[in-house]
Symmetry: C2
Subunit: 790 residues, 2 copies
């Protein structure tokens, strides 16, 4: 049964064929440990092109797990902010040209930045501007054919059609390696365009520099004022062939004052150039073999970039082999057997879940922190790129299972170090390259830390972490927290998106209480359990909607539960989505809604809402709609699992089938919304396995239904947790028998300890629902009441 | 005789009274060691206001010797480049208002920058813009009366008339301390304007930041693109009274894209702000005593600034006392008795000679170097602010006498370290804050190092230094050096100011040869002695002028020896001044000119030239004219001493009297040209003592005539070199008897060893010239022929 695919790098096409016969066979085979078999190469099941279509915002380029360098083609970086949405990761699948290869990208972000240090190989006359995508040859951008592309973990290749140059990319943690094969006999050039940036706008490039060192290393830096203000990035670059010539160009207007010129006036062949609009033309003459360009980044300084290059900048094949080995190890945490499209979806989702929080410290441990100062990570690797509003939900919980030790220690220590060096003394909100962007809402570093602590994952100082969590939750200037602490809710007349903030703060507070309680810090637990009930203060029991309250206590009017606008009561959503966000007290919510039946009816109304008359095209991040359920954005992610809290897990099973079938495809347009640094993907990994962490911090996973025939989660100490599914098919939409370690499981959730201890969860699928399973209150998932009963 | 002045801080007024009776008395008194007397306070003889008039470009503020912080009032920083000339040091004596107090200034530079971190105290409604100097009250600038000013080494005070605030400044090496006494009962505020900068222009401020730390320390930074490109400066600031409120303001246009806002939206009371146009308003309420503001700088990072503040940021009175002690020690290297105006001129000149090269490394040794990277000075203090084209002539040679040990070690090690970290691999040309500005010509770090080496001053690795000197002299891309090495001259059709460059390179080369020869590096000595003769290749023997040659060997026409223009054959001068620049071979030059008589006639023609029909008002740095002799700029500085090389030292004596009387006054407008980081002043110190280093590297000082009654140079190991003058008066313009250690001195020069060994040089002045003294060739100063005879 291991003959499904060859182990060569995956391609994004021709994956649609369902190997149903093999899948059916699989279900009948005796259970056999994967370890006893010749392991398949998980790299062959990953297709990095998934999500590169308009909504996913993933990139197809080369990266190591959690790589500082994420080296990828940019199909267009000439857009300006509001027109850039499709190019958040640089590459948009439907674009006809590639502008160049740059070293930093977000995987799936909604807003964007990065695209640093763009390199484009050229032959013949060197073009200095990217040119118009609609006019081939008008600049240095070149056409390409998707048929020439190869993308797999740690590797990307494409042929640039206008020149015939074959471009290959690979990456180590802090290095990117380019390999360019130029047409024989033609002079080879590289253009380095330090002007190019994703989500550009006038004045974004503050300053940049190029230094050609005596040993032939090209170093430089760029400071930008983009999504992250005053972000600094340094690089060092070496070439496998000697530099025959070079020019450093400043494309900016000249400064109109009595100028003092560097040596070599009248020439651009300088050893150093500084300015706001720099380019480097690098000439290699006619080469007899491929040119390798080895590039390291650093957030500290150029010396740091050189040290990173010294440490990691080996030859292309060596770096590729090392990174592929790292991916085999990382992806090997989960061994999945499933129908081929789902297997590709799931392995690719796992891959996409392992890109952030990416490494930001240098090999020597130094990093630039939120205060723009250089610090040193003594016993951990500093990680950044925290898209926490998205990733606290499922991506971080997934990391506690597939990267339990080092990664989670790094993450918590990085969060706590960031807080220590924050000018505000609080944990990151949306941080990258060490800098705070103040994007989205909440203080969701808190549930990330609490979840790791509650599960006993990672090695960190819990007291220091708890201090940081409390400080973040009590920082009055942040997002209406002063009012929240005083009034019990964020007031909409003083702070936008007040309803969303209130409920997210309350949930975050509950995770503080959980952790403090476990630590024996009763004073803190009491204080934050109380705050965990503040969601009620923004819930309008009369109408059954979460709504924003004003300082005077009244709800804001007019009120339309379908409206999605900036400045509304909600964040990237409306009352339909946000009224369900009480992970810490779904039982309390459901009582307000009038009990199980009414709750289920309201959930159904959400999924079945006729949205044909609504227009949400003005709103970013609103995609993947099933009625008012918006799978393309995070506030909906837990909602399908809420039927289980209402005693109807069979309805969850139905909805999951509906969502998975409509929202994920193994194609470039296969993600219905932004992947958001792995959150969309992590949702699929959990859902595919048959359970989902609705309330991180609770140590419970709500059982949905599996989409795999079999999956093995390899845990520390050689332990394994196996999911087995009998009778998986399109027709068998419902879970029948559920057995944990051979015994029937009557509740609709499993605990983290049950997974982490190893064992087997066996599902038997069937065509008809089991409406009795999980119905009695004692069988339902965790739902701590916050209405006084604790 | 020590009752001339009290020891209180000097004032710039009422200094004109000549104490001729005391001076005459002094000449008659038996010689008595200064050490046996109650020493006068040298601080009382320094008037920092000298040179703050339009031409001198000095500043009146507070600084320690060679201080990183030079804290001084800026009377106007709102000019834009070309209109800024009078405000090169921030303060221009005739301005009616003070805009604020900033922490960095050049003393006497021709071009400018700095004026960093401007602070202005205010009462009442806080004004955010400086306003129009012509409209009092239109902004935060305030009127002042010179009568309220006090300026002395390490101390400055003024009363701001519009508010009644008394402002006092003092400084340590890396700190500036402000003390503001606010009118009783009024709320005290400070405005910190990070937009303010000397020689401003649109886009100069690249980025800046403000961070209010939890301990109340305000830190921040600024990156500017001024004279030095991409310069970074960090600061840390503490207050003696608690901060009652604050606002961080960004006065820039808002960035027009979907913005993400820091906490506290709607409020400027943030803990952090980043932007291009920042201000901080700091509120202290009504105070019962003065407010002290303690500020440290760093070129490394904010942590460096905090560490500098921790190390040096004591209370106002303590810092002032410490710095005054440092000044007493530094000024004590030279004890001067002279008529009061001359004594003030000389002590002030010595003070102005001890401000640069200023300290740039932090207390922990870290500094930001020419490559914009942070380095660590292991066994020295890194100095920057090298105005080498000016200071190689007399200011550095003066430092070899008055600061022989640590300062010269620091200087040479800093130059060599700068070369090591230079992207070009060469020594500094015009460096400040670690960054190269490529201002002026030559590679005059070379004679600075060679002069120190030849004199045995300082402790440094001579081989490493020589390598750096040779590398600088052979870096082809720099200022036509490729042509110079190939053709024997810089070619004017390929490089501007080619004649000046050729002769300055040839002199610099000679100092390399001298040092190499002493080190036994014969190959290098031979190569550079040959190059030392290249001045001949740009000298037109037919016309008797230094002129620029083209690549084809012809001299450029048309030729006008009086023309002064940018892009001419010369640098800030014309053929009249530059034809005398052959310090290494005046004899060779004089032979071309036709011998002593014709040389003397040409010198006379220069001084006596009728310039009434010429207009040089378009040229910066051309001031202090005596015919075509331009004392306000450096190319003329050695020329009066050249009569001695032609066997007529009595003519030098005449010219020196003429120059000193007309070019130096103990008044704000008392310097006829830019002080140029102490070069104008060092000229006066040497000339006042009676000798001058015409050719640094030669170890000879050419004897002119003294302007002191008596001066003692205190040397290491308790040695003293004393100058005594009998019969000093306006009438006695000529030197009669010259005795060295009691024996008649028949030559018109003394050696460095004779000074450094200690002893007494005694002059007897007379009304009639001694035309025979110093006339025979063997009695004339060093003048190694470069026409083959070595």
């Amino acid at each position: 049964m291991m003959t499904l695919d060859s182990a060569r790098p995956s391609r994004h096409k021709a994956r649609m064929k369902r190997l149903t016969a093999a899948a059916a066979l699989l279900a009948l085979l005796p259970i056999q440990s994967f370890a006893e078999q010749a392991a398949p190469d998980p790299l062959s099941f990953v297709d990095p092109m998934i999500g590169t279509g308009p909504e996913g915002h993933t990139f197809p380029g080369a990266t190591a797990p959690f790589g500082m360098v994420q080296l990828s083609p940019d199909t267009d970086a000439t857009c300006q902010i509001r027109d850039c949405y499709d190019h958040a990761a640089g590459y948009s699948y439907n674009d006809p040209t590639i502008q160049g290869f740059s070293h930093t990208h977000f995987s799936g972000a909604g807003h964007s930045d990065l695209g640093d240090i763009l390199v484009m190989p050229q032959v013949g006359e060197v073009k200095l501007d990217p040119g118009d995508p609609k006019q081939p040859g008008s600049g240095y951008r070149q056409r390409f054919d998707h048929a020439t592309e190869k993308a797999s973990p740690g590797y990307y290749a494409v042929t640039l059609a206008d020149s015939g140059i074959r471009a290959e990319l690979t990456a180590g943690t802090r290095v990117g390696i380019h390999r360019y094969s130029f047409p024989a006999g033609k002079d080879a050039h590289l253009l380095l365009d330090l002007r190019s940036s994703l989500y550009d706008y006038p004045g974004k490039i503050l300053w940049s520099g190029l230094h050609l060192r005596h040993d032939g290393t090209l170093t430089g830096f760029r400071e930008t004022r983009g999504w992250a203000p005053g972000r600094k990035l340094y690089f060092a670059m070496r070439f496998s062939a000697p530099l025959k010539g070079h020019a450093f160009l400043d494309r900016d207007e000249k400064v109109a004052y009595k100028g003092f010129q560097a040596p070599g006036r009248g020439s651009d062949a300088l050893a150093e150039k500084l300015g706001k609009a720099l380019e480097a033309r690098l000439d290699f003459g006619a080469l007899t073999g491929p040119l390798e360009v080895r590039v390291a980044l650093s957030g500290v300084d150029e010396a740091g970039a050189v040290a990173n290059l010294d440490a990691e900048g080996a030859g292309f094949d060596a770096v590729r082999a090392r990174t592929e080995g790292e991916w085999r190890k990382a992806l090997g945490a989960l061994q999945i057997e499933a129908p081929a499209p789902m297997r590709t979806n799931l392995y690719t989702a796992l891959y996409h879940s392992l890109l952030a929080p990416s490494v930001w410290s240098d090999v020597d441990g130094r990093y630039r922190g939120p205060d723009d100062q250089v610090h040193s990570a003594k016993d951990f690797t500093f990680r950044s790129t925290f898209s926490l509003w998205d990733t606290f939900r499922a991506q971080h919980p997934l990391l506690t299972l597939v990267q339990p030790d080092r990664t989670n220690s790094d993450i918590v220590k990085s969060l706590v170090a960031s807080r220590k060096h924050s000018p505000h003394g609080i944990l990151p909100v949306w941080q990258f390259h060490g800098r705070e962007t103040w994007t989205m809402i909440g203080y969701h570093a808190v549930p990330v830390i609490a979840d790791a602590y509650m599960k006993g994952v990672g090695d960190f100082d819990a007291n220091e972490a708890l201090d940081a969590m409390v400080a973040s939750a009590e920082y009055a200037p942040y997002g209406g927290l002063g009012d929240y602490m005083k009034l019990g809710y964020v007031a909409i007349d003083r702070e936008p998106e007040a309803a969303s903030k209130t409920v997210e703060y309350a949930y975050d507070d509950w995770t503080i209480a959980r952790m403090a309680e476990k630590m024996g810090r009763k004073d803190i637990a009491d204080r934050f359990y109380k705050r965990a009930g503040y969601w009620r203060n923004s819930f309008d029991a009369k109408t059954g909607w979460l709504r924003a309250r004003k300082t005077d206590g009244s709800f804001r009017t007019p009120f339309d539960p379908t409206a999605i606008n900036y400045g509304s009561d909600y964040t990237e959503g409306n009352a339909w989505q946000y009224s369900w966000f009480v992970p810490q007290d779904q039982a309390g919510l459901f009582r307000i809604l009038g009990g199980d039946a009414k709750t289920i009816a309201k959930l159904d109304a959400m999924f079945d809402y006729d949205i044909s008359k609504l227009d949400y095209s003005h709103a970013e991040d609103i995609a993947g709609l099933i009625g008012q359920y918006i799978h393309g954005n995070e506030p909906s992610h837990h909602v399908a699992y809420l039927y289980a809290y209402a005693g109807a897990p069979w309805r969850t099973q139905e909805r999951l089938k509906q969502i998975v079938d409509s929202q994920y495809k193994p194609t470039p347009d296969g993600l219905s919304g932004n992947d958001d640094l792995g959150q969309m993907s992590a949702w699929l990994v959990f859902t595919g396995l048959g359970f989902y962490p609705v309330a991180p911090g609770s140590n419970q996973y709500v059982i949905g239904r599996p989409f795999v025939d079999r999956a093995v989660l390899n845990l520390p100490g050689g332990k394994r947790f196996t999911v087995e599914t009998a009778g998986l098919s399109d027709a068998n939409r419902y879970v029948g028998k559920v057995e944990l370690n051979g015994k029937p499981l009557t509740r609709s959730w499993i605990s983290d300890a049950e997974i982490r201890g190893g064992g087997t969860l066996r599902f038997t699928m069937q065509a008809k629902p089991d409406t009795a399973w999980g119905k009695v209150p004692g069988a339902r998932p965790y739902s701590r009441s916050t209405d006084g009963a604790r």
